[in-house]
């Protein structure tokens, strides 16, 4: 089977298409050469089939089996999942978490990136490096560091409000009322710089001519940032938001470690619940159903979000001929 290169990849995102297909029409390649291409891809394909596709399919099969007899039970496990209050309160908690944390984080990342890219900034390289550093810190270590720093016995700074008469006793960010916000603080620490780096590099790709034209037209620096730069990097903004939404729904490491340090509960997030169902209770069938539902929620959230922002894409989109 030979595929026409021009018509063959239309389903893919346009930049990928543009990058992967040579600009000029290629003469049909010999089958032997096509076979070499397949040969080169095959190690990846084999691993992908074994360690990605197979577990995914197995997950679905497992979710349709009975936890007691391992016989086919249809959608019984899914009915259990949908009736499981703890699971759904975990999902809702993560939705709440994501709504606040992602907005704050991406907002900060945008502000910092725009400022670092603007004319009022000193030490751009230094700050860009410092903010990106948490990317090299494992989530486990980030959670341990912050967990200790948020424990009054280990961090005398948390007693300062008490000495100043602002609080009754030390501030305890890891108690049950505040722990969700403590995790937001940690996750924001971990990933703001990462997102900022993506945005900053996008900004350096904004053509000089556009900025120059705006300047000539008398645009203020603020207007340039808000009306020109931000719309031009909106696709990267959307990309970072989608990655962050996926990340929020998958939250696992930070609550697990904090629960070791301060007992915040072991069913805080859907992922923790899935882990416990499978490995503490040995109910792999129900865990499979829970993870299939979580995957569906994740994809649904991504698609819904993308649908919402796509409709509101600014007028530039039409003019640039980018069709999605």
């Amino acid at each position: 089977m030979t595929t026409n290169t021009a018509g063959g990849t239309t389903a893919l995102p346009v930049p990928l298409l543009a990058a992967s297909v040579s600009p000029r029409p290629q003469r049909p390649l010999k089958t032997a050469q096509g076979r070499s291409g397949l040969l080169m891809t095959s190690p990846f394909l084999i691993l992908f089939a074994l360690f990605f596709v197979a577990p995914l399919i197995y997950s679905v099969i497992l979710s349709l089996r009975s936890p007691l007899t391992n016989a086919y039970t249809g959608l019984l496990n899914y009915r259990t999942v949908f009736a499981e209050g703890q699971y759904w309160s975990g999902v809702i908690r993560m939705a709440y978490f994501g709504a606040i944390q992602v907005s704050v984080m991406i907002g900060l990342a945008i502000l910092i990136a725009l400022f670092l890219d603007g004319p009022y900034c000193r030490g751009r390289r230094f700050f860009a490096l410092v903010y990106f550093m948490p990317f090299a810190v494992p989530g486990v270590i980030a959670a341990i560091m912050w967990g200790f720093l948020l424990t009054p016995d280990l961090d005398s700074a948390l007693k300062v409000p008490h000495y100043l008469g602002l609080a009754n006793g030390a501030v305890t960010p890891l108690d049950y009322r505040l722990s969700l916000y403590a995790i937001m603080l940690i996750v924001t620490w971990e990933f703001t710089g990462y997102n900022m780096t993506l945005l900053l590099t996008s900004l350096t790709n904004v053509p000089h001519q556009v900025l120059e034209a705006a300047k000539v037209d008398g645009c203020s620096e603020f207007a340039i940032a808000a009306r020109i730069k931000l719309p031009l990097i909106r696709r990267t903004v959307i990309f970072t938001i989608i990655l962050s939404i996926i990340g929020s729904l998958q939250l696992f490491t930070e609550p697990v470690i904090l629960n070791d340090i301060a007992t915040i509960g072991n069913s805080f997030t859907p992922n923790q619940i899935i882990y416990n169902t499978a490995f503490s209770f040995g109910n792999e069938q129900l865990a499979a159903a829970q993870s299939v539902v979580l995957a569906a929620i994740t994809i649904l959230a991504t698609v819904v979000f993308y649908g919402l922002v796509r409709r509101k894409m600014d007028p530039f989109a039409a003019g640039r001929g980018v069709v999605r």
Binding site: A18, Y275, L294
Partner: protein, 306 residues
């Protein structure tokens, strides 16, 4: 192609970008820089604390000022106890992390580079399907894979082995995606053609022409995969049961889960803190040199993923 134009740093803003009076400009610069410094303190504070706290013994941790070094440094005794506790488990974890991260990064980079090059330079039948798979897989959350992966690996006795962790992490769809974009742009078809005229096989042409040109991209992929594996927690936690196979992340979390247990002996606070420092220090020291490679990979992914 614009997708592969990497970060061009505008070190100095052009003169025409200035607006307002000099005083206003100066005030904006000062206020902005102050805000940047506050943000930098938020980022650096925990890392600084980790360094300071790692020099304290358990009594000092609970009695001295949080962000100030103690009068008497306990690094030596902390190091000794870190590396000897329970027969020196920590040294194993460090070694294991090095093994997992190095093998995964090297193998994932090789597999992805070959696949990405194949996809970019050859137009075979399954090509379109493969691209669809790669892009689609970026959307599947890891949770849906890890539990069944454990069960499947358990059946073939891969759990609790090095290869059991390395093999799934070698599947790196982003790497294939990244490399196909990189190769399409960087490797000229004419060079491959001239190799063919010389009678070289396609694989030989890849080795002679493709590989050297793709080297910078491979460095980026290696680093991304290395950092990703070093930082991974969920997958090794599920797949590994015995302590002598743990990477640092899982080992340290096992220690930190003992902190609150009553009757578990002296809590391991100094060991957990120093162990955490040791597991981030190599990467943090190298980071200023590696930053541009890492950022490039992420950015190409983001721009192409738009």
């Amino acid at each position: 192609m614009s997708a592969v134009t990497f970060s061009r740093t505008r070190s100095k803003a052009p003169a025409y970008l200035g607006s307002g009076s000099r005083l206003a400009r100066r005030m904006k610069t000062t206020a902005g820089t102050a805000a940047l410094i506050v943000a930098a303190v938020y980022v650096i504070a925990p890392i600084y604390w980790l360094i300071v706290a790692s020099s304290k013994n358990i009594a000092q941790l609970f009695s001295t000022a949080t962000f100030l070094p103690p009068t008497h440094l306990s690094w030596v005794s902390n190091l000794k106890s870190l590396f000897t506790y329970e027969g020196g488990d920590f040294s194993w974890w460090f070694l294991n992390s090095v093994i997992y991260a190095t093998c995964t990064a090297a193998l994932a980079t090789s597999v992805s580079t070959l696949a990405g090059y194949g996809l970019a330079k050859y137009h075979f039948g399954a090509r379109r399907t493969v691209f669809g798979l790669v892009v689609g897989s970026l959307m599947v959350p890891a949770t849906a894979l890890v539990v069944p992966l454990f069960l499947l690996e358990h059946d073939v006795h891969l759990t609790n082995t090095y290869q059991g962790v390395i093999l799934p992490l070698m599947v790196y769809p982003f790497g294939v995606y990244f490399m196909s974009i990189f190769a399409a742009d960087a490797v000229p078809d004419t060079l491959i053609d001239s190799c063919r005229i010389d009678g070289a096989s396609e694989l030989h042409a890849f080795w002679k022409v493709g590989r050297p040109i793709l080297m910078p991209g491979m460095v980026t992929l290696f680093l991304l995969s290395f950092i990703g594996t070093w930082n991974n927690y969920f997958l090794p936690l599920v797949l590994l049961g015995s302590e002598n196979r743990f990477p640092l992340s899982v080992g340290l979390s096992a220690w930190s889960s003992d902190l609150m247990l009553a009757g578990a002996g002296q809590p391991l606070y100094p060991e957990v803190i120093l162990g955490s420092l040791i597991s981030v220090l190599p990467m943090l020291i190298l980071f200023p040199f590696l930053q541009k490679y890492v950022a490039r990979g992420l950015t190409l992914g983001a721009i192409a993923g738009e």
